[in-house]
Symmetry: C2
Subunit: 353 residues, 2 copies
Amino acid sequence: MGENALQRKPRRNQGMSIARLAEHLGLSEGTVSRALNGYPDVAGKTRERVIDAARTLGYSPSSAARRLARGVVETVGFVLPQRAGHFSDPFLAEMLDGVAMELADSDWDLIVAAVPDGHDEPEVIDRLARTGKVGGFILTRTRRKDARVDHLRELGLPFVVHGRTEDCADYAWLDIDNEKAFVDAVRYLVELGHRRIAHIGGDMSFNFAHFRHLGYRRAMEDAELPVPAGFVAEGIADGVAADEAMTAMLSLPAPPTAVVCVTDAVALGAMRAISGAGLRPGVDVSVIGYDGLPFGLAAHPPLTTMSQSSHRAGREVARMLLALIHGAEPANSQVLWEATLTKRASASPPPPH
Amino acid sequence: MGENALQRKPRRNQGMSIARLAEHLGLSEGTVSRALNGYPDVAGKTRERVIDAARTLGYSPSSAARRLARGVVETVGFVLPQRAGHFSDPFLAEMLDGVAMELADSDWDLIVAAVPDGHDEPEVIDRLARTGKVGGFILTRTRRKDARVDHLRELGLPFVVHGRTEDCADYAWLDIDNEKAFVDAVRYLVELGHRRIAHIGGDMSFNFAHFRHLGYRRAMEDAELPVPAGFVAEGIADGVAADEAMTAMLSLPAPPTAVVCVTDAVALGAMRAISGAGLRPGVDVSVIGYDGLPFGLAAHPPLTTMSQSSHRAGREVARMLLALIHGAEPANSQVLWEATLTKRASASPPPPH
DNA sequence: AGGCTAAGCGAAAGCGCTTTCGGTTGTCAA
DNA sequence: TTGACAACCGAAAGCGCTTTCGCTTAGCCT
């Protein structure tokens, strides 16, 4: 015996099985199975009888037996980003909901795996793959260089990535066009009349932070606006750090009149710093964030922000993975979505001065 | 064949199987299996040889075959709260991370299921249970009357609930003592010198909102303080609604000098209303929230709040479920944790006046 | 009527593992 | 030397399903 003392053979569904069902119907197991699985060589009447009986007796095939017999999995894996517990992520849950919903439409399931301390992501992926628990993977919170992607490439299992890595030509991904989003944000500020625009950026090892930064740079260049020293902060991950960074910017000889922030959390921190310096956010200094958090709406003034539905992204990513598993080409499964700008009061024309 | 065109029998792990491993070793499958599963009747040397070979050849048993042969599942289900996508929940992801981590320690897995539109929670639970995909369930975001709990009770599968329902004597749960948390919060305000304390409460069909409200009432009674008309708002779910509710309270003839809010999101909305009315949050009107959100720290003033780690709750809940599956008594698996009060600047003594 | 085809079903093998049972060795006491 | 007894391993039966193959029957044409 193993080390555990599970009561063996728990009669799952009061011992319902295809054998019992077949016996009950006076048919062979094979016929019942074919009827249930839509094979053409079973009489219409028989099929109905079988389906009816299955429903009334509450029979559903054991997924384990099915998997063993057919050799297909009907489950996909989602490896939670390491340290997910440390910065709580409001989008993960939404995205998971989308993924799980989309999968449910095809009667597929979702295994969510975390990376235990002392292990790393490839190990977790390996275990799931080797034991045959999943037929594909979904990844999110991608870094520019991402061990998970490299590992999955080698493994040969289908996978789709929410986000992208540095080199993303050969696998399937769904990403937001973060560069364009920040180009748009800066353009909007330029149209409002701003010329001194700063950027509070995040951890550049994350691809989204990298591209948001790039978008900021490109738009500034396009508008032929200078990016003075001190106008770009990097590696800002939360409101507190953002507060400090913004405070520093405000004490520059020629401080910015607007700032585009890598996330809403950062933007809210920046707004706080602006108030703290005795200035009015959205009046003296405009602020734009990214994420569309509900908190942004309740901020004062309400935060101008960019966003894309995580739930929809989850659905799409799941759909893509299913397609991949059914034979689609990864290189043809690369989707770039645009974020939408929600204009609120935190961004307005600069003070006349 | 079914309707799909999956390539059948994908050679999971380059066709590694216990048969190949056994052949490679010159042993029978049975012996290999027993060696790997720690049976005593296999020679020490043999066991080592087998384990070594398994590792170097990268063999792990197929979970489906294992499940079929042993009749045990090693997977638990987590049914996402319906409409999770609509109010994004920063804690769900954290909690899932905790659950998955704890399970991983025992080589168990977590299936996360969503409720597709047009279906309900019992259906989803049923499917997972009937197909034998899971050996137990974890629930969260419990309502006072919860269809999921009722259904699981009937089903007879082990489950543990994060939160409680109205009647919770006969199943396993882990909950925060929300009543005590709000008693403590009110007491803290009373000690600070407040006498006019209000409460902005949530949707009372959620158990946590119900008990937080109860705690507020009880503490007010204990302190022999009145709860004037208009001092309690119900059904407030977000910052915007909180803003309105707080604004209404501030226009009372004798407005509160402090308010305890059902969540941080609500508290932040209340703070905004206070500022909007020309008063200073944390000085003229004290505010206490619940959740320990990072945003609270970056608010101004930083939000006094109560919290409990979702990650730890996830771990604990998973541990409890595993125990249950191994035969523990549900009625002995009921745990009440206390929330801790994080004192920050949003709560201070009332203005002298 | 005879033969042929197609429709419908049963028999049986097999998916990859676990676990019981029994058989073969080697070891030790008598 | 025997016999008894462990220790160790192989054989084989299953777990619940799918799917191929082939057989029986009904239906049709000539």
